[in-house]
């Protein structure tokens, strides 16, 4: 089993270098003529106005938080799914109750207006 993870480790090494090498090669092949006008930030052809690191709407944060809750729930469900064949009906129903509680949580969030993209 550790040889499987050794492969993944080696793959990670190769994959970290593999896109980087063509980018470096293209850096040598491509022309390099920097120009103050060219390196200005793009804003539909006009001069930029204001800060570039703007404040963001709270709605993005709320969607990320909702994703976090459901993702952690699903991570907890994976062991239950794998042990499924050894569970009794009671075990299955406990897992179903867990999912149902989160289903109710999604409906509650819906009613509160959390899932609106204003």
């Amino acid at each position: 089993m550790s040889s499987d993870w050794l492969y993944i480790g080696l793959f990670l090494l190769i994959v970290a270098i593999f896109p980087g090498a063509p980018i470096l090669i293209a850096g040598w092949l491509a022309p390099r003529k920097p120009n103050p006008l060219k390196s200005q930030t793009y804003e539909c052809g006009i001069e930029t106005v204001g800060d570039s690191w703007v404040q963001f709407k709270a709605q993005y944060y709320i969607f990320a938080l909702t994703f976090l809750i459901f993702d952690v729930e699903i991570v907890f469900l994976f062991p239950w799914a794998i042990a499924f064949n050894q569970l009794t009906l009671f075990g299955v129903l406990s897992g179903v109750l867990f999912i149902f509680v989160l289903f109710a949580e999604l409906l509650a969030a819906w009613r509160k207006g959390v899932l609106e993209w204003i």
Partner: protein, 422 residues
């Protein structure tokens, strides 16, 4: 070379190559661990090269199909039927200048395209192409795929943040909101095959599919297909790049091969998702005589993946782009409740079928048992599908929210006489 050796090579070239290289390295006197590492490194390198070469083919297929549906020819000058069109395109991208914007964060700006491509290529380590052609059959394959796919999301945020461009940043936020939202139904739909087979390793999932999982869990397949399209950012969930509208969003400040990497990463991701779908739901390399002759397993896998990729391209051609609020509503108000309900119902039905098959005198694993299991799951999935459609239709028939009438709005005079003279 003996006839048996030749036959073994034809049946299973990769294993024979690996054995040959191992033997040659052993003869040169290297230690077994080093030989192991070198062979695996070579295999990883070959997998990466293969994926890049595959992108050239998939881009050509997509452009030709797109063109034919739109009643035009597509690339047909470079090579027979234009197969080599992507090669001059890549040469062009290689020779474009890297224009880095002022004030961009150098480290993250250069890291972002590398992360976007690495996230996709890491998935190729666990996809089983044939009974013996796979990188590694780790026993947490499904979870590994979900974890590694999240690195792509990280690449997008880095790209938008480090571009020093408020529109790139806003585009990156929207892209991440979409990708992160659609991970939930994708992982839920991934949970259903894991439930039905009791293992997370992808090769073990393929081996457990004596009946293809698309017959046992068609709704899960549908949810996985749709949410994986949204994960990749392909139309109709195209808002991540939206070439004609927000000037490719978070990639606006990238030029040359860095942009090329995002482009290649997107196509490769679409192909990888098709490969995953066919491995999880369409039985992967399974087919007649696939275990004895592994190269046939590879052929079946390639055929199935191509068919799924064909549908992915057709979906892109045929559907218009969705707005971000429509997309997120569809996800959180339809796909996630449906996914949760599906997992609950599949678990209960599967357990009941296993508990009560003995009552009807069936043996575990016999064909009658398999037929009962498949038919029960199909019927239950059909009922859920009908129920979900009926519910969403009744929701859609509600009155849309109207503006508040007491707000001050200019009201035309109530008199019926005509005010338009002359």
């Amino acid at each position: 070379m003996s006839w048996n050796g030749f036959l073994a090579f034809v049946k299973d070239p990769l294993t024979e190559f690996a054995k040959g290289i191992t033997y040659r390295l052993d003869v040169w006197g290297l230690s077994p661990e080093l030989v192991n590492v070198i062979v695996k490194l070579l295999g990883a390198f070959v997998a990466c090269m293969l994926s890049f070469a595959l992108v050239i083919l998939t881009i050509w297929v997509e452009r030709k199909l797109y063109a034919r549906v739109q009643d035009r020819l597509g690339p047909n000058r470079v090579g027979p039927w234009g197969i080599f069109q992507t090669v001059p395109d890549m040469i062009k991208i290689f020779t474009k200048e890297y224009i880095t914007p002022d004030g961009a964060d150098k480290v993250t700006y250069n890291l972002a395209p590398i992360l976007a491509v690495s996230a996709v290529m890491l998935i190729w380590a666990v996809v089983p192409f044939a009974p013996t052609f796979f990188g590694s059959d780790i026993n947490v394959g499904a979870l590994y795929i979900v974890a590694v796919g999240a690195i792509g999301t990280l690449g997008i945020i880095l790209a938008g943040w480090s571009s020093n461009n408020k529109y790139a940043l806003l585009g990156a936020f929207r892209a991440v909101a979409q990708m992160v939202s659609y991970e939930v139904p994708m992982v839920l739909a991934l949970l259903v095959p894991v439930l039905l087979s009791g293992t997370m390793g992808i090769n073990s999932l393929v081996k457990a599919q004596s009946v293809w999982f698309i017959l046992l869990a068609p709704l899960a397949a549908f949810i996985f297909f749709i949410s994986s399209q949204a994960e990749v950012g392909r139309a109709p969930f195209d808002l991540l790049e939206a070439e004609s509208e927000i000037v490719t969003g978070f990639q606006v400040e990238y030029s040359g091969l860095k942009f090329g990497m995002f482009f290649v990463g997107e196509f490769l991701h679409a192909f990888t998702i098709s490969a995953l779908f066919s491995a999880l739901f369409l039985g992967g390399w399974r087919g007649p005589w696939a275990e004895q002759v592994p190269i046939l397993g590879l052929a079946y896998f390639v055929i199935k993946t191509s068919i799924v990729y064909f549908f992915v391209i057709l979906l892109r051609i045929a559907a218009p782009r969705m707005r971000i609020d429509q997309m997120l509503n569809f996800n959180w108000k339809f796909l996630v409740p449906l996914g949760l309900l599906l997992v609950m119902v599949t678990a209960v039905v599967e357990k009941l079928v296993i508990h009560y098959y003995t009552l009807w005198g069936l043996e575990f694993g016999s064909t009658n048992y398999l037929i009962l299991r498949a038919v029960t799951h199909l019927v239950v999935n059909g009922l859920i599908c009908v129920g979900a459609l009926w519910l969403s239709q009744s929701f859609g028939k509600r009155e849309p929210p109207r503006f508040d009438a007491s707000r001050a709005v200019a009201v035309p005079p109530q008199s019926s006489e005509s005010t338009a003279t002359d």
